[in-house]
Symmetry: C2
Subunit: 420 residues, 2 copies
Amino acid sequence: MGSTLDPSLAPSAIGHGESGHLTRLDRWLAQRLQSMIRAARVRVELWDGWSPYREGSRIGDLVVTDRRTLVGLLLDPHMQFGESYMHGRLWIRGSLEAVIEALSQLPVAAVSWRDAIGRLFARSNTPVNARLNVHQHYDLGNDFYRLWLDPEMLYTCAYFPTPSATLDAAQIAKMDLVCRKLRLKPGDRVVEAGCGWGSLALHMARHYGVEVRAFNVSKEQLAWARERAKREGLHDKVEFIDDDYRSVSGKCDAFVSVGMLEHVGRAQFDAISEVIERVLHPDSGRGLLHFIGRDVPRPLNAWIRRRIFPGAYPPTLAEVTDDILSPAGMSVIDVENLRLHYARTLACWAARFAAARNTVRSMYSEPFARAWELYLAGSEAAFVTGGMQLFQVVFAPRESAPISWTRRDPFPVKVSVDHM
Amino acid sequence: MGSTLDPSLAPSAIGHGESGHLTRLDRWLAQRLQSMIRAARVRVELWDGWSPYREGSRIGDLVVTDRRTLVGLLLDPHMQFGESYMHGRLWIRGSLEAVIEALSQLPVAAVSWRDAIGRLFARSNTPVNARLNVHQHYDLGNDFYRLWLDPEMLYTCAYFPTPSATLDAAQIAKMDLVCRKLRLKPGDRVVEAGCGWGSLALHMARHYGVEVRAFNVSKEQLAWARERAKREGLHDKVEFIDDDYRSVSGKCDAFVSVGMLEHVGRAQFDAISEVIERVLHPDSGRGLLHFIGRDVPRPLNAWIRRRIFPGAYPPTLAEVTDDILSPAGMSVIDVENLRLHYARTLACWAARFAAARNTVRSMYSEPFARAWELYLAGSEAAFVTGGMQLFQVVFAPRESAPISWTRRDPFPVKVSVDHM
């Protein structure tokens, strides 16, 4: 990754502030910080190269470049780890991913570095807020995401038929997996809530002959999606709607949402439940939710919330069943945890991001590039260590016939390669 | 089914009590009963043939043979429907399954006939109670279950690779599905909680080369299982342990429980969680729970509790994840809802039961046979209509690697036919 320092890099090569010589207090604070993270075998190093770490081997170093950062890390680690890293006041020597993964595995009691990948965002996603949140993240510009996403512009967990599949193939396999789990057939009316750049909607229409109404509130994504639909002659099969998913009306045979649920916020679960109940045909209907989740309810890390995903909350399976599906009269048909697929997706993104780092830096700034690197590495660590899960949940109205007799039909996955 | 009356059967052919001529009160009570179930298109008929039903077509008739039964059905339908049917004071004209299914679909508000398949059993399954409950049901006698179960003596939901598969093949396919979901490999140490007559334990040892410790508190089932293990030369691979599953010690690579969770009672979820956390190897461990569940928390019907399954409680997925798996540090890897497979399993059992009805009656009594017929038909209806679900949940310790990259490996299911 671009920000990974060579292990041999001398402390003097790292930019640092004007904190001068170490005081006894500096050393005592560093010892406190070190004791919090010692179990991760990550060494704390202060601006003049001094370290309280006495163990032998280590995963890597946290290099703290000034006194303010040292104090910040002790007082508010959840926010200050990300802020300090982003602004170059905290450096990591060794592999960023490995260090973050080691820190992620610390027991929560020790220090909630774990929550460097995990605090409830209280701001509610009312429709107006939803627009603000999505704009902050997704309207960074298509050009930014094009630098490091796959050609289909899928910014959600891919599905790798084998661990060595390419990201491009895995994103197409993911779309196909979703279509097959939904048992799409020609003529089905599909509603997609949160369609991103529209690739799944177009894939469903092209390969499964369905009609799609796809909702999004990001104008830049929608412009891209509509342009592509027209270019590919699918604009009569797919309607891209510039509106909040809660405005959807009419009935549909399939409801799908990939990578949106974790952004709507818990306060909106009632609303999404009501939408699912209202739009899904009581006999033919079935749906799929693909979302970042957790085993145990926990808010997203404060820094991720501030810098990357305002309003986000990864729900537990129980929150989704009890607060969304059951009140909507839906039964869970099938759940698959694709956690390791997301870890691999993030590793692919990080590699592409690293390759595009100079461009990102010139488009935005060095802190921006560092923030994204930290976010990608931290997310990968969370999926590797089980701090976060990726659930695909298939559901259907309780009293309808379940949508398939066995799972075997949609497996093995057919990877469509015609536009790879 | 044996108790299904010919639709043309005259009321006089039905045994009834000594309630004599209808009073105005009888008619008024019958009208109340009829209005509660009118939406199900089931006709109420009193002992002299009179009915308040004025609609045209109908699914079938409830024939009430005396005043006491009529009053009982209005005051305590959950208990009295089963009690009256069992003792021949309530008859069903038409298909028992169809009538029960129609009654099951009534909105809960109308009358909780729905709960004729659904009230919380307060009695806690302490180890001593667990023994009592299991004895009441399972120690009816191996000879009883042998009359209508498959040759493997599996008294849990089967897995029909195709809807036309036989029950015998489907039970073997179910065992194989469980083994494949668990990714069993030679040498694995397996703990089975609630092993019934031992078929799954023996299947795992024979076909997957694993070592099994299988727990049960039913002495008659255990005697059968041990005898079979010895006869088949598997007694050095499978240890059948006459003890509560909570006594299990040591570590294992796989924990499996098929058809037990719904019998342990909600008060015991902490205990099973603690067992899973304690015995499952933190790196290699994975587990599978196969259980009757619900979408919405609701106690089991009072009559089923009294006559068929004392202590039983079918949990929701959320109860299982929040009260058992998450506290044990487990992540959900995979969930499959086999609801329709259980409906078909129950239909197969009902047909076999009907064929063995005379024997059952002579072994026990007419009310016993009627009780079982009602229970089998009611359960089938619950799985058909979505009142009950059958979940298979695969899980693994949160920080271990998930047990497989994709689902494809264990599908299609290999049905072992060597001892069918």
